[in-house]
Symmetry: C2
Subunit: 252 residues, 2 copies
DNA sequence: AAGTGGTCTAGACCACTTT
DNA sequence: AAGTGGTCTAGACCACTTC
């Protein structure tokens, strides 16, 4: 098969928005990921199968999957196949949580739920989540402890429509990271986030939760998480005690 | 040419450490970058030329360059060629400086040098820069202002051997980011860094430089920068006033 | 042995830039 | 028109995993 015989861009007439074949294949694969045809942790069809399905060469499928792997949507394992990425694996636990101890190896913190409630989105939350002010949201507040010491207090807001049966009990029962619960129980997978970091002073409430004096400097991390299609689905504001921990960032 | 005829891994006997051809090509290209055969901002030979030089196919050179481009060591421009990356271009100004205003578009801050001196490396600095305690280092202290307001006070340490003629005058004269000066005047190009972020209280000295009250919370960013070969060549400690700015981080 | 992803090649054509 | 990187194909073989 020649390239032009299957590339619609090669049709007669000007092609206003050129899009390479492998990008179109990538979009099709992403759709199947988003629709749940292949679920987190599962094996997707082999490159040969996908090439046959889409009637393109294996090399084109390869390039599409290469980009999906670079974006952490799938992960390739030689000899086994290509798997849909999941937050329910040790490797992914520190992808979004960048706070690590100054000394020693990082490990997963204990989570203690303080509050879960449904409410109407305040204006600021609605803006971040691309909702209308007053739309239903789920509010969660919790404290995270490393080695028994409370280090993080965080509040988060989720669109009410996507997280209908979310209760404190289900959060407490779930072992592993919260994003794993969101993905396996609610079908919403976080794939990307942006964080804004600031230094603030602990107010009385935060100080009480963390067992420190009011006024202690805290690292404030405001995160907006996105799922497929760049849709915002979480606003989270965490206060990190950085006396014996730090936020680690790799610049490249 | 067949693959095996030029791949030393295919020689008789077991290959203990398999290394793909394109990785070897990538290493050769990186050597030429490091040695200064092609300088920052310059055009490197075309893929066809490099394929001929290394006696491999263009596709193999392509894959090597793809990875170098992904690591920001070079940048490709269709129709023009492949260029060595440089800090002396607007695009690179915010690669390492992640502090942006809460409102409005970011732009390059003004730098005011406070102090430049030569000294012996304190133990902590020596450890970060992989020097011996007491080795010569250059110490720089400066204040960065956005729109006339001082927002950052930072101190940095560089290996004395690599930055022999560095003076306050040369720093003051230079237009553009400090990394651009390092790269064009001292032949040391920063290609990667790790940062540790913490919240701290402003001490009297920092408060004076930033025109704020002592005790104001500041974001402390401790950065170690690396050049080719993962060699540490800079330790930098910045204090960021985050009342109207924030540290922006993309998680993916 | 069979199937998977990983590497390498050779050749064609496309899009973009410069001459 | 010529040269560059960008896309696509087809086929070969390698490394790894499973049966």
């Amino acid at each position: 098969m020649s390239q032009s015989s299957h590339n619609p861009n090669a049709a007669a007439g000007p092609s206003p928005t050129f899009s390479p074949l492998y990008q179109q294949i990538k979009a099709l694969i992403t759709q199947s990921l988003q629709s749940g045809e292949w679920k987190p942790g599962e094996l997707i069809p082999s490159e040969v199968e996908l090439a046959a399905r889409f009637k393109v060469s294996q090399g084109t499928v390869r390039k599409a999957i290469d980009e999906l792997a670079a974006e952490n949507l799938v992960s390739r394992r030689q000899g086994k196949g290509t798997f849909v990425s999941t937050h329910n694996e040790a490797r992914a636990h520190f992808r979004f949580l960048r706070l690590v101890p100054d000394e020693g190896v990082p490990h997963h913190p204990d989570s203690k739920i303080v509050e879960v409630k449904r409410m109407r989105a305040p204006a600021e939350v609605a803006r971040s989540l691309e909702l209308k002010s007053g739309d239903a949201v789920v509010f969660i507040k919790r404290v995270l402890s490393f080695d028994g010491a409370p280090i993080i207090v965080e509040e988060l807001w989720l669109p009410g429509l996507l997280f209908k049966g979310l209760t404190a009990e289900r959060l407490d029962e779930y072992k592993g990271p919260m994003y794993g619960l969101f993905e396996s129980e609610f079908g919403t997978r976080m794939i990307r986030a942006t964080e804004k970091l600031r230094a603030v002073c602990a107010d009385a409430a935060a100080a009480a939760f963390l067992g420190i004096a009011a006024g202690t400097p805290l690292l404030c991390a405001e995160r907006v998480s996105y799922t497929y299609g760049d849709k915002a689905v979480e606003l989270r504001r965490g206060l990190y005690l950085t006396e014996h921990h730090h936020y680690l960032n790799e610049l490249s």
